[in-house]
Every structure is written in structure tokens, then in C-alpha cells.
Symmetry: C2
Subunit: 415 residues, 2 copies
């Protein structure tokens, strides 16, 4: 076994950023945004390019039944689980050039560095471009074994059946269960991603050490008032559903701001019935979205809100319903992996802070199967899913250096 | 001149209610509601029936250029202005059987009582069924001279040009200015109407003495925030347009409840952009409707709100715009007419209270030309514009008695 000398090992920032630019041209829009919907022609073309890069990096490439593009470099210990890194290369309809792409290209860069330095790790290394992260998450979920088995459950962004979609990228719906991996197949999962939020910029740190991907509870809130003539109904005789809804909106805001930790709660969607200027609102329907790293915090917020709703219903004399829509469990990041990332940052002289990931990532699913960690680099103005999404060359390179060193450290640390 | 003996003069409640039922069959829906849109076949049919009743009551009937159906009984003093009463027989798409119809049929009943008792008033008496009260108000506005002169400005509920509409009911667009009356043509205007609100029922009074028809100011309020990811944007970094809108909604409610008098203020219409459960709202547009008897009170509310908006904009860091849409001036009821109504109630042993009319009526327009008064009878549960609209036979008869006696008293009191 060659002795590893991380200080001498360096990524190639020019190659890294060149590949990010090259990938951004596939599906690039005049606005500067990127449209590379999963399973689209652009996705197919980008996957071919990424496959080439994986092969240039000396990885052995396969596509599993879920359409995940997997590049593997064997390790010294044949029976060891793989150190896995990666992300996705599909985008939302007006996506940025960094979201997902950075994690995949950085993973390939790590593999290529190891190849060029002729360094063999103890563990195998896998770089994965997961299929359709932005929508169905069929790629990462199939590896964990949590993808739906009914093809009708998949509404793809290209409006094609999931079976056809998988065929287009070399997957196979009928063999989907074969994509599943066991816990022993993986030693850990570490993903580099742009923050997609403004925390690192606000606190002026170079690297984010992710504490976990937040869990989520989604509800609909309905206020039942009584529609009435806005002229002839005195204020004291109204059952105005919108003024009651306004109290709820402020109660949700106040709760999220004052609850311990940094939970978020959002009422993003609201409709008024009958929605006429001269009619006192009779009914309001709203969405409620609550996210936090801790299941318990979300549960406490829900309980707090239920009591608040009771009070508001009594004082407003309007009935209020709260209906659950869905729950996503939080995925904590592994403590050892967080410590390794911190050590690598310190070694490189990079400032860092711990923070939760409040967006979904492949890591949130893979983290249900194996120890998970994420490295964030700053997003300018916190903007993503937009042509305005931007992370500097230096920041991308710093994140990739941390990824490289962390994977090497984990190789030595993990069984 | 015959000496009038109001105590011996009695309306015929059976005839009154029979006519209300008969009219309700024209355009009657299975739900119990009435659909008799102005200028529709049902309106044309109902006008023919009402014309017959006017003639049975000894009135000389004409239709003016605005389509107003006018029955006139001459008085002793040929040069005197007319005592005018009436209302409308058109309805909203799902109207009730009393809104408007009661005032027209009660006016005919008054005329028929006078005819049967062979009583001649000093003033002429006119009973008017005004054209299209529920929408364009072309009837009453043409009499006052405030109807628009551009036919394109009229959007009728039957989707026909106003010229065609007037033709259908015997009016004449080209001669519209001829419908205008001068102040000397009218001695006063007194209208009986159902309350369309719940005040009389709430305070348990039989007759409402209207203090005036409220004025109205309509605005649009726009909150400019910043749309952002509901997961990745921490609470402290948000520019949530909806939480700011919620503060405005409660400020408007609070203002109207605590302002002196009984103003009403309503945010009835609201839309959120982009209106997605996982996006912090970036923009909210709302209607604001404020009504009061006093112009000054509405102006004070607007000024109060402008200051409030400034504060909310500063603390929320979101820009807020307030754009005027339209202003309708209030129409105060004449003090002498209010006193006459009170005296008549007292004479009949009917309980009464003063209250504003917060709905629009023909009286609001005619009151800009001559001294105006309105008599309200209770609406069950305050409901109108609905098949559930209900005023009992006894209440309809009581209102009609008050109308009869008040007109006779005004005949003696007015020049």
C-alpha cells in the first residue's frame, strides 16, 4: 500500500471548472440558466459526456437499473464497502450550472487525482451521477430500496412513463430492485454541493459542514368563515376567513422565528373563496410547510400550532382544519464524517461552520442506508434554481479539495 | 282637497304579497332564488306585469329613454315636484324575491290605496322601476345625468351592447339625455327596501330609518417581497410578501373596528405569487374596500392606513403600494324625511332604529338630485342576493304602511 501524502496531492482547478462550463453548455439557455430535465435529450447527451470523463479518470462505468451512472475504482481491500461520492446532473426547468453538477464533476476530479498520483485507497471509490434528483429521486431511492413499485406513481418532468424514461438512459424498470445496495456495499456517502441558501455568505465562511438534511411536514390549513356582503355586514357580525388566516400566517411566522434551533415554516400557497373585492371572504385554503433537522422539533411545532389554532378558532368563531399531506424524515449527517470535514478544512486553512441542509439532496436518501456527510460551498446571494446561481472558481476548487482530503481521511478511518 | 285620514287608509297586505309571489315566479329557479337579469327575457316579461299593475293602480305609465318604467299620478298642484318612490325589479344571477321588488310593488300599493280611497295629494306621485340597478345603474344615473356617454363603458350582464339592451325594454340610447330630470321635477325620493344586512334583526327593531347610503373607496394593495426557496431560506433572511400582507389584513380589520362610527373595511380578494407550497411568497395583490356614511371618516381611515403601511413596510423590509381604483361619494338621507319616517313608525307603534345603508341603491344616485330617504325592513339572518333572502309578510306590510304614511306626511310638509 502506497503511503498517502495529501499535502502533495492537488486537484486541477482548470480541469474542474472547464468541465463545469462544458456541462453547462448542454441545455444552456440564452438567459444563462440551464434546462437539462432528467430523461430529456439534454440529459442523455450530458450523461454521455460524464461517462467519458469517468472513464478518463480511470473509473469502471456501469448504469444500474435505476439509471444511475456509476464509476468505480477498486480498493486494496476487496471486501470493503465503497466510499461513495457524487450528486446529479439533471436540473429544474431553469436551473443553475452548479447545483448537482459540481458534486459529480468534483467526484470525478477526486478519482482522476488518485489515478494520476497512482494512489490506491483501501476502500473502493464510487462516483455516482444519480438519476432524476430534481423530481422523482428514482436514482437514489432505488439504491436505498424506497422507490415506489407502481410506475403510475412517477410523474416525470418530460411527461413520459417512467419505464420509457429509464430506457432512454440505459436503466430498466423491470429490474429496478436490482439497483438496491446493501449496507455492507457502502462504507459511507459524502456529497459536495452548493449551499442554495445564504448562510455561508452571511456568516462569511468558506465551507459548510452539513449537520443533516432537514425533515419536512406538509399540511393544508383551511379556515371556514362565512361569505357575506362587504358593504352590509358590520365588522362585529363578520366571520371573515381571511382575517383569521392572517392570524394563522403570523402565528406560524412567529413560531418558527422563536422556536429553539433554526426551523423554517412557510405558508407559500393561499387561495380565498369567493375572492371578490365586495365580499367578505368565506373560506381560505393554505399550505403549511415545516422543516427542521430534528423530528422532535417539527412535532413540537405541530403541537404548538394545534393549540394556537384552537385559540384562534375560538376567538375568531371560525372553524379551522389542519390536514396532513406528507412527512419526510430528517437525515442526520454522521458525526465522524463531520469531524473529518472540519479537520480537512483546518488543514487547508479554510473557515467553516456547521449548518443544516434545508433543501433535498441525494444524500438525504443515501443517508438512510449508510453514514452520510455533505460539504457545502457558498451560493452568491443564496440564489439557486436560477441562471443567477453562482459559486466562484475558487470556492468550487476549495470544496473539491475538502472532498478529496475527506475521502482519503475516511478511507483510513473507516473499517 | 280631500282631508287625508291616514288612520283609515290601509294597504292590502294580501295584494302586496300576492304580487311579490307572482313576480318571483318570473325567473324563479328551482333553488328558490330568482334570476331576472336586467334586459333579459325575464326582465322584459316582469316589466310588462309591473306595467299592468301600475295601470291597475291608476297610474299613467311611460318608459323613459333609459328604460325606467315610470307610473305617475297627478297632484292638486300641477307645478309641484313629484313625490317619487320605487326601486328595481332586476336581480343578480341568484337573487332573492324581495331585493328591489318590494320597493316597486309597495310603491304601486301606495298608489292603489290612494286611488281606492279617492285621495288626491297636492304633489304628483311617481312610482319608478329603475333600469338595471344591480349592474350599470343606467336607470337612476340617467335621471341624475351621471350615466356614462360612451356606450362601450357599459358591460351588461346579458352580454349585449347597451343600445340593444335599452331597445329591448323600450328605452333609446340616442335619446338618453332626455331621461334627465331637473331638481324642480322632484319634491323628494323615498325608497322602501329590505335591509340586506343583520342589524335590525340583531337589535330587534321593525323599521330601519336610513341615515344615508355609505360612500366607498376601493384600492389595490401590493406587497413586493422576494420569492425564495422555502427550505433553504432561514426565517431571518426572508422577504415574505404574505406575512407582510397578513399584517396589513389585521391592520385594516383593527382600524375599521376601532374607528369612530361604524365604518367597514374589507380585503376580499387576494392573490399570491408564485403561490407554491415550497416557495416563500414573493408578491401579494389585494383589494381594499372601505365604506362609511362620512367622506371624512373614509379619508381619515385612508390616511391612518397610509401611515400604518409605512410602518409595516419599514419593519418588514418589503415595499407596499396602495393604488386607488374608484371613489363613490356617500349620499346622506334628508333629515326631514328621517323625522317623518320616525313619526310614522311611532304612529303605527313600530319600533325603529337609525342605520346607514352599506349597500348601493337607486336612492344613492337619486339622492344626488333631490332630498332622499330610505325605509328598511329586516332581512332574516342578514342574507340577500340568495334564494335564502327572506322578509316576512308582516314585515313587508309594515314597511309598506310606513311608506304610505310617510309619503302622505311629506306631501303635506314639503313645498
Amino acid at each position: 500500500m502506497t503511503t498517502l501524502s495529501p499535502p502533495q496531492l492537488r486537484i486541477d482547478p482548470g480541469r474542474l471548472m472547464g468541465r463545469i462550463s462544458e456541462l453547462a453548455r448542454i441545455g444552456g439557455l440564452p438567459s444563462g440558466a440551464v434546462k437539462r430535465l432528467a430523461f430529456s435529450d439534454e440529459d442523455v447527451a450530458a450523461r454521455a459526456v460524464v461517462r467519458d470523463w469517468m472513464e478518463q479518470a480511470g473509473l469502471t462505468v456501469r448504469i444500474d437499473a435505476a439509471g444511475n451512472l456509476i464509476g468505480r475504482r477498486e480498493g486494496n481491500r476487496a471486501a470493503a464497502g465503497a466510499l461513495v461520492t457524487g450528486s446529479h446532473i439533471d436540473t429544474v426547468p431553469t436551473g443553475g450550472r452548479f447545483d448537482g453538477a459540481l458534486g459529480v464533476i468534483a467526484g470525478i476530479e477526486v478519482a482522476q487525482c488518485l489515478q494520476e498520483a497512482d494512489l490506491q485507497l483501501d476502500h473502493p471509490l464510487e462516483v455516482i451521477a444519480f438519476a432524476d434528483e430534481e423530481n422523482t429521486m428514482i436514482g437514489c431511492k432505488s439504491i436505498v430500496g424506497t422507490a415506489a413499485s407502481d410506475p403510475e406513481r412517477f410523474r416525470t418532468n418530460v411527461n413520459l412513463p417512467i419505464r420509457t424514461c429509464l430506457e432512454r438512459i440505459g436503466g430498466d424498470w423491470d429490474r429496478l430492485p436490482s439497483a438496491r445496495r446493501g449496507p455492507a456495499d457502502l462504507a459511507c456517502y459524502l456529497e459536495l454541493h452548493v449551499e442554495q441558501g445564504g448562510v455561508l455568505e452571511a456568516v462569511n465562511r468558506q465551507i459548510g459542514v452539513v449537520e443533516g438534511v432537514v425533515g419536512q411536514q406538509r399540511y393544508t390549513l383551511t379556515v371556514h368563515g362565512q361569505a357575506n356582503h362587504a358593504g352590509t355586514t358590520p365588522m362585529g357580525m363578520r366571520h371573515d376567513a381571511l382575517t383569521t388566516a392572517a392570524q394563522l400566517i403570523l402565528a406560524v411566522e412567529d413560531m418558527a422565528r422563536h422556536f429553539p434551533g433554526d426551523p423554517v415554516a412557510t405558508i407559500g400557497k393561499l387561495s380565498v373563496w369567493p375572492n371578490a373585492a365586495n365580499i367578505v371572504p368565506g373560506r381560505v385554503d393554505m399550505s403549511l410547510d415545516m422543516r427542521d433537522l430534528s423530528h422532535a422539533v417539527i412535532d413540537h411545532m405541530r403541537a404548538h400550532l394545534e393549540r394556537k389554532i384552537e385559540n384562534i378558532a375560538v376567538t375568531s368563531r371560525n372553524r379551522i382544519e389542519m390536514e396532513p399531506q406528507f412527512v419526510v424524515d430528517p437525515t442526520p449527517a454522521d458525526g465522524t464524517i463531520q469531524d473529518v470535514i472540519v479537520d480537512c478544512c483546518d488543514g487547508l486553512g479554510l473557515s467553516h461552520t456547521h449548518l443544516p441542509s434545508r433543501a433535498s439532496h441525494d444524500a438525504q436518501e443515501i443517508g438512510r442506508l449508510t453514514a452520510m456527510g455533505m460539504i457545502f460551498v457558498p451560493s452568491r446571494d443564496g440564489v439557486s434554481h436560477s441562471g443567477e446561481e453562482y459559486t466562484s472558481d475558487e470556492q468550487c476548487a476549495q470544496g473539491t479539495e475538502v472532498l478529496l482530503r475527506s475521502l482519503i481521511a475516511l478511507d483510513q478511518k473507516l473499517a
